[in-house]
């Protein structure tokens, strides 16, 4: 109350004493000239004071005439006092301060954590000083963002858009139009394995955003970085060991608007068995129906379930400042959902009236209820033996539990036939564990050595995935009325899958400082990866003795059998079971030269890949096992020219690669209704030449303006297409399609006007790839014939235009920060169709979020709120072909066919933060 009163008083005074003097100026670092945002400016022994704004300025109004001691204070800087006199003749007085950084007694121990690396200021500095092209988003920025997962934070970064899951949550990043396969993910610079069962890319929604110190997207690789990124590398720098005690915690709660109008329909997997009957009892085990639970299909309706999020981070440096530690923990328990209108296109188009005419075969209402529990733990120790040798141990544990219930109601397009209701329960647990032991040694004054020994494990388990469908028949009576017959239950399936990726990696890096201007580095890396994938499914029949169908009453009253009896055996030969190994050895040489305003960094990296797999193919087939080796020589060169203290021009070239997914090489075939899908051991890895050009200016601290362009020439991009074997036998398989190009331009800006700021970015991307696709039409004689045509299109996931814009208000005085954020993702191909011209395009969509935080004065507490998806814009996916089905719901366009429309609704979160 008192504080509010003072606030009021200040405001009042500033208005009523308008004729009195105003003091204003800038507060900067004496050495770097950086503005010291948040520094306090006080007129001693008065009520007059303020905090420094985002551009480094301050302003104190309504000061009665007199002589004052003006004191400026900022954490880590020596307080500075100047005498100032306000007289009546002078309405405005300008007074600038430059503060000197105060070195503390920790100086004898070489700790890099002198500045707070979680700030925007630090992020901008790192961007400016980096050797290569990258973008950084700091913890401070993340804290104010509405996003709770790293995946959603990524979409705020220039050149990055996200691919969302069925409930609209970001999951994968597309960097500069390059799909997820062309990017990699690392934690503290160490690449981490993926829990995906077939691919390398890591689902980014596993990571809670609040464990991060900063998030970097590196767009040009240097020789000391792993070379398998063409779009870019996402590096999560986790909170690091502080120099002093830090303690912060947040707790928040909220809900999703969606569940105010419909219940959340979830299921409980408390007693779920993570192992299938065949895993428990052996492969020859004849399963009994009693081995299977039906609990996953018993749904509980909850209205307005509460989302809860907790995080804690504590760190300190103890034992004479030799041992530092940091523990970060985050737990998020959320309920999400979506309502999706889904037009199912037939797997093969119609040849009439024109070739490849899409056929809508059903209209589905899909309702998703997703419960997620996300746990992230981050534990770091750091021991400085002396100022030459330091050892750190880093541990990361991530767990994402996801319970998804999908309910599908299929509407009939006609008046007769079977109408289906389908419920699917999928519980998936994904884990990523990483442990890194790192040593930093100054061998001599000129020679630095660091090494890392890394153990990582990525795991995904989907125990007892269940599917149930109910069917009833509708028929038309003579009088035109519709009769509905009894509802029957179809066979129920249970699927167990799990996969594991064990990764052992060692890194060694040597840096030799030849002279202050010339530095050489060399290093190597060796990785041994072991993957296995387990798949087991059972189908329980519902046919009754006598061969009759079973009328459905409830799932617990349903009678199950194994009919035919052979179905009680485990499906252990399923082609989804495979193992893969990968050994990568790499070495590099790099040199960095500083010549007056030039910095040149260049070198070469050599990566040797040895991939192998063992599949479930019969011994009589070609390619039951495979071993593929290749070597890449990856040069790179980065120029930086310093135009001024705040300006750089960068030019860089690097060669990057992208390796095929583990399962893409396995020639296991999956026959489908319309085509057979198969892997392809002849698949080549992708190589790309990348050129970047960028101008950057960092006018004052947190402000920035970057503009750049890029060009990529991609050899052997991997896309799906048909190959023929035998006579007119085709498989749909990953293939290399010649050369693709991708170029674009990026622009990033941040500008502050006292307490207001705008920040944003815009990326234009244009990519082109030509692939062969199928054409289903008629030949000259009128017979239906499959033929091939080629289609040039953008790469999957590439939007021509992506943009971010934020309006920021930060008032260090009142401790109130707010941000309105807008993200635009231009139209892009979501799914590439095997058929010419039938790709699924996601319409350009924008999302608006609002977040705010208020620090409670003179306490360590603040309160915050995050409101997301304010506009509730649906996600719309279309096929760009003439539409002849406009009688159907939501088919409003003549020039395109709606295939999916997802409505996600808003979500709200409020919380409290403690920080000291």
């Amino acid at each position: 109350m008192k504080k509010i009163f003072i606030l009021f008083l200040i405001t009042f005074l500033s208005i009523s004493a308008a004729y009195a003097g105003t003091l204003k100026g800038f507060i900067t670092d004496q050495q770097s000239g950086e503005p010291l945002v948040g520094a306090t400016v006080m007129l001693e022994n008065t009520k007059f004071g303020t905090s420094v704004g985002l551009d480094g300025s301050y302003e104190i109004k309504g000061i009665p005439a007199g002589k004052y001691q003006c004191k400026v204070q900022y954490v880590g800087y020596a307080p500075t006092v100047k005498t100032v006199e306000i007289d009546k003749t002078q309405t405005f007085l300008k007074l600038n301060f430059t503060l000197l950084e105060q070195f503390n007694e920790l100086n004898e121990v070489t700790v890099s954590a002198t500045a707070d690396r979680e700030t925007d200021n630090s992020a901008r500095k790192t961007e400016q000083k980096s050797d290569n092209v990258l973008n950084i988003i700091s913890a401070k920025t993340i804290q104010l963002l509405p996003d709770i997962t790293v995946a959603n934070v990524l979409q705020r970064i220039s050149g990055v858009s996200v691919v969302r899951n069925s409930t609209g949550d970001g999951q994968y990043a597309v960097i500069r139009g390059m799909d997820k396969r062309y990017n990699y993910t690392s934690v503290n610079g160490v690449k981490i394995p993926s829990p995906d069962n077939k691919n390398r890319f890591v689902p980014m929604d596993i990571f809670p955003a609040d464990l991060l110190e900063r998030l970097e997207v590196v767009k040009a690789l240097t020789p000391n970085m792993e070379g398998d990124a063409i779009g870019g590398a996402m590096n999560m720098v986790m909170k690091s060991v502080p120099d002093y005690l830090i303690l912060s915690a947040t707790a928040s709660g909220g809900y999703s608007q969606l569940f105010s109008t419909q219940p959340f329909s979830g299921f409980n997997t408390k007693d779920v068995n993570f192992k299938s009957p065949s895993e428990i009892y052996g492969n020859q085990y004849v399963a009994k129906t009693t081995d299977f639970s039906i609990k996953n299909l018993q749904y509980n309706q909850v209205s307005m379930p509460v989302n809860s999020l907790l995080s804690l981070s504590v760190g300190n440096r103890i034992f004479n400042h030799k041992l530092g530690f940091l523990f970060g923990g985050s737990y998020q328990h959320t309920y999400r959902g979506s309502n999706s209108l889904f037009f199912s296109l037939n797997g093969q188009p119609s040849p009439d009236p024109v070739p490849n005419t899409p056929l809508i075969e059903s209209v589905q209402q899909r309702t998703y209820s997703n419960e997620q529990a996300r746990l992230g733990l981050n534990l770091k120790f750091d021991y400085a033996f002396n100022n030459r040798n330091r050892l750190s141990l880093y541990n990361l544990f991530m767990q994402l539990d996801d319970w998804q219930h999908r309910h599908v109601l299929t509407n009939q397009l006609t008046l007769f036939g079977d109408v289906g209701n389908n419920d699917r329960s999928v519980y998936r647990r994904q884990n990523i564990y990483n442990s890194t032991l790192r040593g930093d040694h100054s061998l001599t004054n000129k020679l630095q050595l660091n090494w890392s020994a890394v153990y990582s494990l990525a795991k995904s388990q989907t125990p007892d995935w269940m599917d149930q469908s109910l069917t009833y028949r509708t028929s038309q009576n003579l009088d035109g009325t519709i009769s509905k017959a009894a509802t029957y239950i179809d066979n129920v399936s249970h699927i167990w899958t799990h996969n594991e990726d064990r990764d052992l990696t060692g890194y060694v890096n040597l840096t030799y400082t030849y002279s202050p201007k010339i530095e050489f580095a060399a290093g190597g890396m060796y990785r041994d990866k072991d993957r296995n994938n387990f798949y087991n499914d059972y189908s329980l029949a519902t046919v009754l003795p006598g061969g009759n169908r079973q009328v459905f009453t409830s799932i617990d009253k349903t009678v199950f059998t194994f009919r035919p009896e052979s179905y009680a055996y485990a499906d252990s030969t399923n082609a989804n079971n495979y193992t893969a190994k990968e050994k990568i050895s790499a070495g590099y040489l790099q040199a960095k030269v500083n010549l007056s305003n030039w910095q040149i960094l260049g070198g070469v990296r050599v990566e040797n890949t040895n991939q192998s797999y063992v599949s479930q193919l019969p011994v009589t087939a070609t390619g039951k096992t495979g071993n593929i080796t290749y070597m890449d020589i990856l040069p790179s060169l980065h120029f930086k020219y310093r135009l001024s203290e705040h300006e750089n021009i960068r030019f860089s070239y690097f060669k990057g690669i992208s390796r095929p997914g583990y399962f893409e090489l396995v020639p296991a075939s999956f026959p489908g209704e319309y085509f057979t899908e198969s892997g392809n051991y002849k698949l080549k890895h992708t190589q790309a030449d990348n050129i970047d050009f960028r101008y950057e200016i960092f006018p004052k601290g947190n402000q920035q303006f970057l503009i750049g362009a890029f060009f990529k020439n991609i050899q052997n991009p991997i896309e799906y297409g048909f190959t023929e074997f035998g006579n007119s036998n085709f498989v749909y398989t990953p293939l290399n399609f010649g050369t693709a190009t991708n170029f674009g331009a990026e622009m990033v800006f941040t500008k502050y006007f006292k307490n207001w700021g705008v920040s944003g970015n815009y990326t234009y991307t244009h990519s082109a790839i030509t692939t062969t696709k199928r054409l289903y039409g008629r030949d000259a004689t009128g017979s239906i014939v499959n033929s091939e045509g080629s289609q040039t299109r953008p790469l999957q996931g590439q939007s021509d235009h992506i943009a971010n814009f934020s309006l920021i208000y930060k008032n260090p005085n009142s401790g109130f920060d707010a941000q309105l954020s807008w993200v635009y993702t231009g139209k892009r191909i979501n799914i590439v169709s095997p058929f010419l011209g039938l790709d699924y395009w996601q319409r350009g969509t924008s999302q608006m979020d609002f977040s705010a935080e208020k620090k409670l004065k003179n306490t360590h507490f603040s309160v915050f709120a995050k409101l997301t998806n304010l506009l509730n814009n649906p996600i719309i996916v279309e096929v760009l072909k003439p539409n002849t089905s406009q009688n159907l719901p939501d088919q409003t366009r003549e020039d395109r066919i709606l295939v999916q429309k997802d409505v996600l609704q808003q979500s709200y979160l409020i919380g409290i933060r403690y920080k000291r």
Partner: protein, 471 residues
């Protein structure tokens, strides 16, 4: 020109001479058997068949199967009359044909692919959930993408179509439910004639590409809770005629052009007798006699349907059956008529022309469409068929009609029934012979069809001139 006239003269002289000779009764009339067709080495009966095999399985010998059998590309395996190939019954072993397989049984000496320990339970109204016919006790015969000929004559294929473990075939997934006979090479030749297919979990015959001639066979107990006697996908052209189908789970022949192969599926379905089919299908309305779907073309004439759940169907508009799309057929290129339906209930009488579909009644269909369809009837329209219930009994030699005391689906086997027509049958003389059969396979004793029988003036698989089904 000269040579040709010489040839004619020689032939005339030769013919005249032979007439003279045959008239001379004192000469012996010698009739000796031709040597049995044989290629390569005889295969030993001592070791179970497994792995790569070529040569000949000898007449009247019994061969045990001990693993998947492969006939390599360019190799041929001949099976002589009376040979028995027996499967253990507990493993889904397959014959995988990359070259040619000729199973040349005769009426007197048929060939068996069977499981001797399995017992036929051909009892009216028996429980299909315990019938070994629906268990799939071995795998199937597969024509790989390179296969050249699969010729199957007078052969019993019993109790096949089980669940595969590791699939030996490139176009079948591991763990998939096998078909008894399946092929995937649009230029391969498949002949299935005078044979018996008894039991299967799914489709007894599922071609993914071949030229086929499927004639005069008997299909019993095809499909457990779904399955067609012949389920054709794209890349297939041929004839399905003079077959007797009893108790198919869904349809007899069904044609679709899905699967992405060339050429377009084209099939002639004529002179088949289809009895009590369409009742074991787990979802409601998937057909019960003949069916043209997604982009397929051809014709359907002279078929005799007795108490089938649905009459011949042509899909005319795309719809969905609980996750299974029903997609429009190549309706402009499908013709049909002269089909004969006998029904014992109103429910199936109302589906002689399945409601919601595009098949056009033909004035020569029996019962005559005008006798029960409303005037201004449009294809697919709901109508009242009660007028034709129990009418037009086709007068089989031995099959009780009307069939009223038990469920229609209880008849799934031939047993002692005889589906030949009595001399007074109204099906006689009502057939259509005005089209030319699709002669896509060679006519040959060993490498093709014995005879490609054209459509008959009588309806059904057993025309009165005995050119039809010989079982």
């Amino acid at each position: 020109m000269k040579i040709k006239s010489n040839l004619v003269v020689t032939m005339i002289i030769a013919g005249f001479t032979s007439m003279m000779v045959s008239c001379n009764k004192s000469e012996e009339a010698v009739q000796v058997s031709a040597p049995l067709f044989k290629v390569g080495q005889a295969v030993s009966t001592k070791t179970p068949l497994s792995g790569s095999i070529k040569g000949t399985l000898l007449s009247d010998s019994t061969y045990k199967v001990g693993g998947d059998v492969f006939i390599n590309e360019n190799d041929t395996l001949v099976i002589q009359p009376g040979a028995k190939i027996i499967f253990p019954g507990n493993a889904p072993y397959c014959f995988v044909v990359k070259g040619s397989l000729l199973s040349l049984g005769t009426e007197a000496k048929p060939i068996y692919f069977t499981v001797p320990t399995a017992v036929r339970t051909d009892v009216y109204g028996a429980d299909p959930t315990t019938d070994p016919a629906y268990k799939g006790l071995w795998g199937g015969i597969y024509g790989e993408t390179t296969f050249k000929n699969i010729i199957i004559k007078w052969t019993h294929l019993d109790f096949g179509g089980g669940k595969l473990a590791t699939s030996p075939v490139s176009f079948m997934a591991n763990g998939a439910t096998s078909y008894v006979l399946s092929v995937s090479n649009p230029s391969g030749v498949l002949v299935l004639e005078d044979s018996w297919l008894y039991g299967c979990i799914d489709d007894p015959f599922r071609p993914f590409g071949c030229k086929f001639n499927v004639m005069r066979n008997t299909f019993e107990k095809g499909g457990f809770t779904g399955g067609e006697s012949m389920n054709i996908k794209s890349g297939n052209v041929g004839i399905f005629a003079y077959n007797l189908i009893v108790g198919s789970a869904t349809n007899g022949p069904k044609a679709s052009n899905n699967g992405g192969k060339n050429p377009q599926t084209e099939v002639q379905m004529y002179n088949n007798t289809i009895v009590c089919s369409g009742y074991r299908r787990s979802s409601a309305g998937r057909g019960g006699s003949t069916n043209f779907e997604e982009g397929s073309k051809g014709n359907y004439y002279n078929n005799l349907m007795v108490n089938c759940k649905f009459g011949p169907r042509v899909v005319g508009a795309t719809a969905n059956y609980n996750g299974n799309a029903l997609v429009v057929a190549d309706t402009a290129n499908i013709k049909g008529g002269y089909n004969y339906s006998y029904v014992d209930s109103v429910k199936i009488a109302n589906e002689i022309y399945p409601t919601g579909f595009a098949q056009k009644p033909n004035p020569n269909d029996i019962p005559t469409p005008s006798s029960f369809l409303p005037t201004n009837y449009k294809p697919g329209q709901v109508y009242d068929g009660s007028a034709v219930v129990g009418k037009n009994n086709p007068l089989f030699v031995n099959f009780p009609l009307p069939q009223s005391n038990k469920r229609m689906g209880d008849v799934s086997f031939v047993g002692t029934y005889n589906f030949r027509l009595q001399a007074t049958s109204p099906a006689i003389g009502k057939g259509f012979t005005g089209f030319v059969p699709l002669n896509v396979v060679p006519v040959s004793a060993n490498f093709g069809a014995t005879v490609i029988t054209p459509p008959n003036k009588d309806i059904g698989a057993y025309p009165s001139d005995n050119t039809g089904n010989k079982h």
